[in-house]
């Protein structure tokens, strides 16, 4: 939260529609280097599509993405390859390879994209597992790990290539409130330890506000709000208030359910 470093990622006019229905309708964002930037939005607002367009898993219809000042063109393979080398992606469902062990999962990106000797690859993969405190499970298969450990394993795989930016697609989807907190704490902790820019999309408002440096709200295919977490919490903007209230109401219902069960 110092002055203003040059943006790690600059997105302009990103558009994508499916079957004639626009999902992203001109998204402009600028992600400061070294920050945790969270894009909030209700389910179905196109948050995942937004992230996948940046990573080019989905090809956007229009718009440009700039990574550290270099434009990523669809047909410019060199710039795309360079971006992929320096970008980690944490998928909503973790996307771990279930036929490989934890260690093999983490080693895979190094094996396939670098010329490091096998021993060095294993060492770096072990290091990534250690950093995420799952070193004891290196020979387990993903299915044998708990949800939280799978998430950490997926993060280990995303950071093993020492990326400059990591994209988090709904990192808390399907987790209980306790684990949600843990995941955001994990993102904050490892971002500090490993020094990358984190771009998170989620609909968990309180956790996001607590850990992010900056937040934005995606609604109707555009950025409806962008600012510091404090500004988001106190904003009078109609769409922000509506989103805040809807999640707060949901949360209230859940809390009463939980306490009801506890008693």
């Amino acid at each position: 939260m110092t002055a203003k470093p040059p943006p790690a990622l600059k997105i302009e006019g990103l558009k994508k529609s499916f079957h004639g229905r626009p999902v992203l309708d001109g998204v402009d964002l600028s992600i400061p280097k070294g920050s945790i930037f969270t894009v909030l939005g209700p389910s179905g607002a196109g948050k995942s599509v937004f992230l996948k367009c940046i990573a080019h898993v989905i090809v956007p219809d229009a718009g440009r993405v700039e990574f550290e000042g270099r434009v990523l063109e669809t047909h410019d393979r060199a710039s795309r390859a360079d971006f992929r080398r320096r970008c980690g992606f944490l998928f909503q469902g973790n996307a771990l390879f279930d036929s490989l062990t934890a260690l093999e999962n983490v080693a895979l990106p190094l094996e396939q994209t670098t010329n490091l000797p096998a021993a060095a690859i294993r060492e770096r993969a072990r290091e990534a597992l250690r950093q995420l405190d799952i070193a004891d499970f290196e020979s387990h298969h993903p299915a044998q790990l708990s949800g939280g450990m799978q998430k950490r394993l997926a993060l280990a795989r995303a950071i093993v290539t020492h990326p400059d930016i990591v994209l988090f697609d709904e990192p808390t989807a399907g987790l209980d409130p306790l684990r949600r907190n843990a995941v955001f704490a994990m993102i904050a902790k490892y971002r500090r330890r490993l020094d990358f820019t984190a771009l998170v999309v989620t609909h968990d408002v309180p956790e996001a506000l607590a850990t992010s440096d900056r937040v934005a709200l995606l609604g109707q295919g555009r950025i409806a709000f962008e600012g510091a977490p404090v500004e988001f919490a106190s904003s009078n903007d109609a769409s922000v208030a509506a989103f805040r209230d809807s999640t707060a109401a949901l949360r209230e219902t859940l809390r009463s359910l939980e306490t009801g069960e506890a008693l």
């Binding site: 080019h56 390859a81 992929r84 992606f89 990106p109 094996e111 396939q112 994209t113």
Partner: protein
């Protein structure tokens, strides 16, 4: 009605084009993949070792039934001595490459389509792409390379066990002299027949495995269903289309090879 036919046709052409692009991508991808050897080894295991029992069982029974039927037809003309000719030429030219390919489609091809379909569904393929790993080179190319080697090998195994199956029913159970049977086999089959067998098998292998891989790899593309339904739909389509492709390709190849 007419517009429906037109749309279906255009969809078919587009699908064919998409498939061709997929195959071209897979053909160019091995050079971008590291540790290709261990991936091919895994594919050899999938298509070779895992499918061995079914190939042996089907091969033996094919030989047995060829011996049985052949014996009863030939004995009408007093030509039981030609049983070896009948069994060996049927096996080498048609049965071994076709039936082995169909069995491999059923066992390895369906598994491949389902596995890739699940990997597409759970975003594992997207994950490879974001890592900068060529997903075609990592997932598809090793299977295709393996298929060119494995299908002929399986056809050879099928032929051998089939010949023994024919010997079993023809000479052990029905009483054709075993040396007459084997002499007829040796006389009938030429190296050209073996080449026909292996070439057919390699073509079937490449064709079916690329169809199965394509269906799984793009499980999300061809169906309105999603999730588990999409995987089951893509597996069904993969098996049905591959089986048809085997039989069509067999007819075309046979008509090139046919001779007195």
């Amino acid at each position: 009605m007419i517009s429906h036919v037109g749309r279906t046709f255009l969809g078919l052409v587009e699908g064919l084009g998409h498939f061709a692009v997929f195959c071209a991508g897979a053909a160019l991808s091995p050079w971008k993949t590291r540790k290709l050897g261990s991936r091919i080894l895994r594919a050899v295991h999938e298509q070779g070792a895992v499918c061995l029992p079914v190939i042996v069982v089907v091969g033996v029974f094919t030989g047995l039934v060829l011996g049985l039927q052949g014996y009863h037809v030939l004995s009408r003309f007093g030509s039981e001595g030609l049983l070896g000719t009948l069994v060996s030429l049927s096996l080498v030219r048609e049965m071994a490459p076709v039936l082995a390919a169909l069995m491999l489609v059923g066992q390895a091809g369906s598994a491949l389509a389902a596995e890739l379909g699940i990997q597409r569904n759970s975003e594992q393929i997207a994950a490879l792409d974001t890592m900068g790993v060529n997903s075609l080179g990592y997932l598809v190319a090793p299977r295709l390379i393996a298929s060119v080697l494995i299908f002929p090998a399986q056809a050879a195994l099928f032929t051998v066990v089939g010949l023994w199956g024919g010997a079993l029913s023809g000479s052990l159970l029905l009483g054709v002299d075993s040396s007459v049977y084997w002499a007829a086999v040796e006389r009938a089959v030429e190296y050209r027949d073996l080449w026909e067998c292996f070439l057919k098998a390699a073509v079937f292998g490449l064709g079916t495995i690329s169809i199965c891989a394509y269906m799984g790899f793009h499980a999300d593309r061809h169906s309105s269903a999603a999730g588990a339904r999409a995987v089951s739909a893509c597996t069904t389509r993969a098996v049905v289309l591959s089986s048809i492709a085997v039989l069509v390709a067999d007819y075309v190849l046979s008509s090139f090879f046919i001779r007195p």
